[in-house]
Subunit: 186 residues, 2 copies
C-alpha cells in the first residue's frame, strides 16, 4: 500500500509482461525463464499473477488495450469523420503488422492462450461506438452501433486476410463505416 511498494509492483508487472511478450514471440514462455530474466523468484510471479494463465491473460489484456489506445488516439487526432477512420484503420494495420503477439491473437495461428480475437473485436466495437456517440452525438444510435461493429470486424478481417495495400484498405473501411453511420438516409 505504500507508494514504493505499489510502484515496485506496477513496475514488476510491466517488466514481466514485456519479457513475457518477448518469450512468447520466441515460442518459449515459461515461468522459470520469465523469473530468471526478471531477476526475481518464481514465487514472486505466482504471487503477483496467480498462475501462468494469469500472466497470459494480463499480457493479452495489455496488448489489446495498447492496440485500442493507439487506434483511439488516431481517431481523436482528426476532425473529419472519414479522415478519422482512415487514420484509425491505417494505425490498426500498422500496429498489427509489427506486433507479433497482436497478430497471433487476431489470426489465431500460434497457440495463443484464449484465442483473444473475440475479446479484441468486442472491445474495439465498444470503443468505436463510444467514440462515435461522444464525437458525433447527432448520429442515429442504431447506426452508430452498426458502424462500430462493422469497423471492428472489417479491420480485423483485413488484418487476417489482406488483399490490398494498407492505404486502400483504410480508405475502403472508412468509406463503409461513414456510409453506415450516416443512417437510413431516407
Amino acid at each position: 500500500m505504500r507508494p514504493m511498494a505499489r510502484r515496485a509492483r506496477a513496475q514488476l508487472r510491466a517488466d514481466a509482461l514485456d519479457v513475457a511478450a518477448e518469450l512468447f514471440v520466441g515460442g518459449r514462455f515459461g515461468m522459470p525463464e520469465l523469473a530468471a530474466r526478471l531477476g526475481v523468484s518464481r514465487q514472486t510471479l505466482y504471487s503477483e499473477f496467480g498462475d501462468r494463465q494469469g500472466v497470459a491473460s494480463a499480457l493479452v489484456l495489455r496488448a489489446t488495450e495498447r492496440f485500442l489506445d493507439g487506434i483511439e488516439a488516431a481517431l481523436a487526432r482528426e476532425r473529419d469523420l472519414h479522415a478519422a477512420w482512415v487514420a484509425a484503420v491505417a494505425a490498426a494495420l500498422r500496429r498489427a503488422a509489427d506486433d507479433s503477439l497482436l497478430k497471433a491473437l487476431l489470426t489465431g495461428d500460434q497457440a495463443v492462450f484464449g484465442s483473444g480475437a473475440e475479446e479484441i473485436v468486442v472491445a474495439a466495437r465498444d470503443r468505436a461506438a463510444g467514440y462515435l456517440r461522444r464525437q458525433w452525438p447527432e448520429l442515429d444510435a442504431e447506426s452508430v452501433g452498426l458502424a462500430a461493429e462493422t469497423a471492428a470486424r472489417l479491420t480485423v478481417s483485413h488484418i487476417v486476410l489482406p488483399l490490398a495495400p494498407p492505404e486502400r484498405i483504410a480508405e475502403q473501411v472508412a468509406t463503409a463505416v461513414v456510409r453506415i453511420a450516416r443512417g437510413p438516409g431516407l
Copy 2:
C-alpha cells in the same frame, strides 16, 4: 470421350469427393482408405486427381462453389435489395453451421490444405459484385465493389466469430451492405 466414360468419370469424381469430405471431417483422409471405400484402385484415383493435393483442391473447390451457389440462389430469390441480402447472409450462416468442411475452411482451425479462406472470400466478393451489377445496374460501380467486399468479409467474420443470433446478424449485414451500395449519398 465417349458419353459412358465421361459420365463414369464425373460420377467417380463426385463420389470420391463425397467420401473424401466424410473422411476429412472424420480426421483421417488418405488415398488408400478413399480408394477402398470407393471400391476402386488407388491408381485410378491418382489418374483422376493427380495426387492427394489434387483431391483436396477439388474438394475445397466444390465445397466453395456449392456454398456460393446456395448464397446466390438465396440472393436471386428476393426482389428487394435488403431482403435479398438478409436471405443470403442467413443462408450462408446456416450452411456454415452444418457443413464441417466449410467451417474448417473458414475458421482455419483444422489443418486444412490451403487455408481456403482467401479463395472463398475472393470468390464470394466477386460473385456478390456480379450479382449487384447485374440486378441493380443503376448502382454506382465503385459502391458496388465496396459493398460486395464488405458483404463477403462481414459474413465470414460473423461465421468465425458469432456474437448474435443468426437472424440479427443477417439483418445487420444486410443493412450495412445496402447503405454502402447506395453510394456517396450526396
